[in-house]
Symmetry: C2
Subunit: 350 residues, 2 copies
């Protein structure tokens, strides 16, 4: 199949540092190319892909001012979309990761388009906009993600869970006596203070591998740093090479994320390392964690403390086996199924 | 000719209150329809037009929160543009007043499009974006407006000066002994403090017909109001019916606008009333005012004070005659010329 993949221009694909969506797109492009599809990736320069790269810009995040990110970036994405849709006949399907910016162009060409919604959908302006395009096929990255717009009659093509190349995570031995781990951006909704509290109450040291975004510096300095003691090892952002050992060295990964997380790559990286996850019951969590088998799903911090004390009950091999559901292959298989149904539908109606 | 006119969705066409662009679009639609063209206006509900109205939304300004104006409004404009370009075959030419949002769609259909640039062009992101679409025909509303992007090889179809239906302004007798007038939003760049200073130094009372936007309340309260004395009559916003008498009752209109004004409707309303204009040499001013004949073009407030003392030298009838260059008919004639050249070019290449 001739597939156009459309990535945001902010970060390279894959990203040099933080950027979950870009990591997933990279894996998808390489997986589809390996399966013999003719894949064209529209995205920023510096991207490394087995697809044919059509690069239009250097990644924006590192070179744009905040003024440019607001005023110019949308127009560069629209320019790229116009170029893609001008060439729509070259593709059997267009798969866009630019979500709503893509919508108007779907009205102008017959090539089927599918949008993966990578973010939260419980925002007022999305609730106003999405019902205006009821027939555009959308993919959710968890079933829970759809609930915010369940009152509208939208066209959901599928839920396709995010996938990663997890092989590197499978080779490191899991340490059942290790620390408690926390991975993610330092921001209130990710629950870093809950992680510190759980560590303190269980007497197990905490290691935090976390990025502090410029926007979050105040929260980090004012709220998080004062709570840290000698039992908290804050090691800052870690790269892809460091992650497997970080996860495998933890007896459990804490995921006290207190917002409707659409997916949560941290959970699958942890599971692939044999490390169970102790998470709050929010968003996608019940779809990614098998409660009592690959970790514990909790309703509050008290329950997370109790879960941490019972973590020995979880079998690391069960975690690793479960992680196979979120492999690159599974994700690619899910998307190919979507593309095939769209192309069949297009032929049917066309 | 079958002409699509594309208006912003913020205000009705014409607007109920402030909104220069919408006033101009209204006059253009009515003028083109009167000349026998088949005009379709894409714009907000509540618009009153002799064109065929294709309304998609209630005007946004009165019902949208600031969050919606930022996050949702661009997507509603894109949705409207997609609908227009989906129907592009129904039109010989598409004339958009949505400026850069229109650009990507011009790549997707062959119907010629022309964009009138209604705002200032000396903004960094415009300098980055416009050269990416070098072949899209643009109309400037003054020659001066183009200077900010003169270093790029853009396609300028014409300068078409704004026009209004000025008949109502021509019937009120001009009062050469009247006050000094100021019309416009209260904001620093429009120079309200300069107007007060000129009035005070010449001993001629000032009448200000000015809107105070929510954004400008602080400037008004902190900077402008304390400068007002009994010689300043601040009457707030006036409507279309009140304007002719307001202008005609002034011996001169002060236009101390200290930014590159792309056009300046205030100047032509004043001239049509027989009232000369005393203006700073900025932006379009030397193209709209005939120095020494329909007013005075000055380099600073001192010169504006001297000009006010010499205002009796200006012939009100010369002002009224000069205003004819900015009639609705002249503007429509200018645009029809642009449309005809585009359609001829489209046939040539197509």
């Amino acid at each position: 199949m001739r597939i156009a993949q459309v990535a945001p221009l902010y970060e390279a694909v894959p990203p040099e540092a933080y950027g979950g969506t870009e990591r997933v797109i990279a894996v998808l492009c390489d997986g589809l190319a390996a399966a013999g599809h003719e894949v064209t990736l529209f995205g920023p320069e510096n991207s490394l892909t087995d697809a044919t790269l059509q690069a239009s810009e250097q990644p924006l995040r590192e070179r744009f001012s905040s003024d440019e990110l607001v005023n110019l970036a949308p127009h560069l994405h629209l320019q790229m979309l116009a170029e893609i849709y001008r060439r729509a006949d070259e593709f059997d399907v267009i798969h866009s990761h630019l979500d709503i910016w893509t919508l108007p162009f779907t009205r102008l060409r017959d090539t089927p388009t599918v949008l993966t919604m990578h973010g939260r959908l419980d925002l007022d302006f999305l609730r106003d906009l999405l019902p205006r395009y009821p027939s555009v096929p959308l993919v959710s990255i968890s079933d829970d993600q759809r609930l915010a717009v369940a009152d509208f009659d939208l066209t959901w093509a599928a839920t396709v869970y995010n996938g990663l190349d997890l092989t590197a995570y499978q080779d490191v031995p899991h340490d059942s006596d290790g620390y408690l781990g926390f991975v993610g951006r330092i921001t209130e909704e990710k629950g870093p203070l809950a992680a510190i509290e759980i560590s303190r109450r269980t007497g197990v040291p905490l290691r935090m591998a976390a990025k502090v975004d410029p926007l979050d510096v105040d929260y980090y300095e004012d709220e998080v740093k004062p709570e840290m003691g000698p039992d908290v090892d804050f090691i800052g952002e870690i790269d892809e090479q460091e992650k497997p050992a970080f996860y495998a060295g933890a007896r459990a990964t804490l995921f006290p994320s207190d917002w409707p997380e659409p997916f949560g790559l941290v959970m699958i990286e942890s599971l692939a390392s044999g490390t169970p996850v102790i998470a709050l019951r929010r968003g996608s969590v019940p779809e990614v964690i098998d409660d009592g088998v690959t970790g514990f799903i909790c309703d509050d911090v008290d329950e997370m403390v109790k879960a941490a004390e019972r973590i020995g009950e979880i079998d690391p091999d069960a975690c690793r086996r479960h992680a196979q559901r979120f492999s690159a292959e599974e994700m690619c298989r899910g998307y190919v199924e979507v593309y095939e149904s769209l192309v069949a539908g297009a032929h049917q109606s066309g």
